[in-house]
Amino acid sequence: MGSVLSKSLLNSGFYVFSTQYYLSRIRGGHNTFQIRISDSELAAMGEDVDILIALDRASIDRHLGEMSDGVVIVDRDVVELDKEHDSIFHVPLLKIAKDVGGNKIYTNTVAAGAAIGLLCLSLDSLNGVLTSIFKKKGQEIIDNNLKVAKAGYDYVRENYPHGCKFNVSLPEAQEKRMLIAGNEAAGLGALAAGVQFLSAYPMTPSTGVLNYVASHAGEFGVVVEQAEDEIAALNMALGASFTGARSMVTTAGGGFCLMVEALGLAGITETPVVIFLAQRPGPATGLPTMTEQGDLLFALHAAQGEFPRCILAPGTPDECFYMMAEAFNIAEKYQIPVFVMSDQYLADSLFTCKRFDASKITVERHLLSDQELRTKHGDYRRYKFTPGGISPRALPGQEGILVCADSDEHDEFGHIDESQENRIRMMDKRMKKLELLATEMKPPKIYGSHDAKLTLIGWGSTYGPLAETVDILTKEGHSANLVHFNYIYPMPAESIHKALAKSKKKICVENNYTGQLARLLRTEAGIEMSDKILRYDGLPFTPASIVEALREKGVI
């Protein structure tokens, strides 16, 4: 019901944002699906509830307190209530489903119709969505859904005082937009980037990307392999990449723990790979279905020794789409592992986005052609010393040359060489790549005025809540802005200094306990925070919660 309503509201022209709360079990437990709509851009959840469709007692017990002047739709024939509340409005969902649709499975559609009724909108858009999603199930099912949606809608119009509640008017017609979750966007980005090989072991909240790519693997010519464990997954991706396939893995923190060994292998063999790392609260199994940004420093430091890597952290689905593609290009240009860090909040929430533009994506392979090999590389050296540290990459199977990779320290040809002289040169060669890469990393985004007194600082998925917080603060008369990081490592220190030069107070806002970005900014750019707002209860920030924390800390 949640996604059907979301899509209907999108099609009516609203900006829609939806997010789910669920526990780690297949059925039962308390689950919610929240939808927020607006006539302007939206990328965060609010805290007040206007319409609550309560399908059980727990929903009422837990969320009645969040209602201000709203309506609780509840079927009192099904849900027993021991309290009364002004906002409770009985709708006989089950009875309508059975009487009009002939089956209790239509209860959800009745409720969706009722919700549209309360919003004082027309049913057209809901009808359109129902028709398209049930197309495969046949006309009878479509008709039943349309009938029961109308019956739910009519019930509201006839029984709710004054016929409906919210008097929402349709936004002005605009170009059509997408409704998409971060995971789907990342999967789309990988396909657009020409991913050829994906190996993974399922783990929430990354599985959506694996599923998405797998569901289009045939059409796009991708080989998807479910590995026996994450150790195999990343080792496979490296084997595929070494032989020339654009390769990636998807995982969450726990799975990444097992990949750490192979991460180092990618480092020393200079094998490109994209690691899609969707975070959830740890340590160990933690809170499997909730959200956190607790793995940044882990990704940065994972594996023994030192080697270059790159960390990107998209904040919205469109950034997931474009950055995924960038990740492949960086991985192949620099022959390093590249992380794309997401989290459960970004992975599973539905965002309204401008249409993605696949033509903006380029596929840059940085491979030597057979021709180049014949003319320029008589004695091919996979790890040739070059001024920038990037060696020419050929593939095994190309005629007349051999490609050798070794996890031991090796010479330019890939043969073991344990001499000190070689070690120093190889380390320098590999690490050198970071210098050039740092210049390619884009500066943090500034949202709001460029010379605000109060600067909120965040990274990745907190973009939406932080941007909205800046709007709220600005409206209240504060001088505030957001400096937001998507390109995390290597840090372009100079442009970061520039972005933060004018701000008097710097408050880092992160979904973790220790303030990991704040630490990184200190060590990499020498920038100190004035204070931090940290949330680690498994839930994402809401703008209201950030404003409240700022008040509590006396910042505003």
Binding site: F197, I231, F242, D406, S407
Partner: protein, 284 residues
């Protein structure tokens, strides 16, 4: 045509008299006999004295992590199935650290050849028990003698319907060469388990010990697809140790299961970026 010389002659870090030398010799002879040129061959290995073998062979190689020989080898084959992919491992590497990968590689059945140098000991780390060490073998760690039962890799592979299961002996280069030729030719996962005396650390299973016990199975003793007969044979270990092919099973091969690999190797497919527009429409 390829020759043994094409596969080079390198200085090694192996102990004088090590069984590994003969395995290298047999491998070169097999590859030359099959007419494979070095650039067509990819050796994937883990870590250990056995895992160093690709360093001493003129061909493409990916020398990865201890125990992790099979996942990259499998994926390398998937991404360019025109390569002849061989995975080289020690018994610690393939049966200890990488045991799980072996089981799953057998299930997947990629067309690669696994060559296990089984010296019943950890060589590179100087003499600890391996999964195939005899019960009672004393080491610096197993001071009272090994308690664990030795793994029977041949029986394990047959029980899991591995596509090609064989055993060679580093003391018989000619026989090992023939086995390797058949194993590499076989389409599907081929296991070549090689009895390889470690002259430095394994004082129990010496050349003499093996030579007194090994015997070659005759061709046609039983139909090679008879799993029960093969299994029975795999249990033979003691005064007499059989060498040769135990079991052959023409199972569907992993690469054949991917429609996209039918036209050309994965790495030669062009990205289908424009098709993404259709998917994007679905989110509107």
């Amino acid at each position: 045509m390829a020759s043994v010389e094409d596969y080079g002659d390198y200085e090694t870090a192996w102990c004088p008299g090590c069984g590994d030398f003969n395995i290298l010799k047999a491998l070169k002879a097999a590859l030359a006999n099959l007419g494979k040129s070095p650039s067509e061959v990819l050796m994937v290995s883990g870590i250990g004295q056995a895992g160093k073998l690709p360093q001493y062979l003129n061909c493409n190689f990916f020398n990865g992590l201890h125990g992790r020989t099979l996942p990259p080898a499998t994926a390398a084959k998937l991404s360019n199935h025109e390569l002849t992919v061989l995975a080289v491992a020690g018994d610690g590497d393939c049966y200890g650290e990488g045991g799980n990968h072996l089981i799953h590689a057998i299930r997947r059945n990629p067309d690669i050849t696994i060559l296990v140098h089984d010296n019943q000991i950890y060589g590179l780390t100087k003499g600890q028990a391996s999964p195939t060490s005899e019960r009672g073998m004393v080491s610096k760690i197993q001071r009272e003698g090994v308690f664990n039962n030795p793994l029977n890799p041949i029986a394990l592979a047959i029980s899991q319907e591995c596509s090609f299961v064989s055993r060679g002996y580093a003391g018989d280069v000619q026989h090992l060469t023939e086995l390797l030729i058949k194993a590499i030719r076989h389409r599907g996962l081929s296991l070549v388990e090689v009895l390889q005396p470690c002259v430095t650390f394994n004082k129990l299973n010496t050349f003499k010990w093996y030579s007194n016990r090994v015997y070659k199975m005759e061709d046609g003793e039983y139909p090679l697809d008879d799993r029960v007969k093969a299994f029975e044979r795999s249990l033979e270990w003691g005064d007499r140790i059989p060498l040769g092919i135990f079991y052959v099973n023409e199972r569907p091969v992993l690469e054949d299961n991917h429609e996209v690999l039918k036209e050309a190797p994965l790495i030669r497919h062009k990205p289908q970026t424009e098709k993404v527009n259709g998917l994007i429409d679905g989110f509107m």
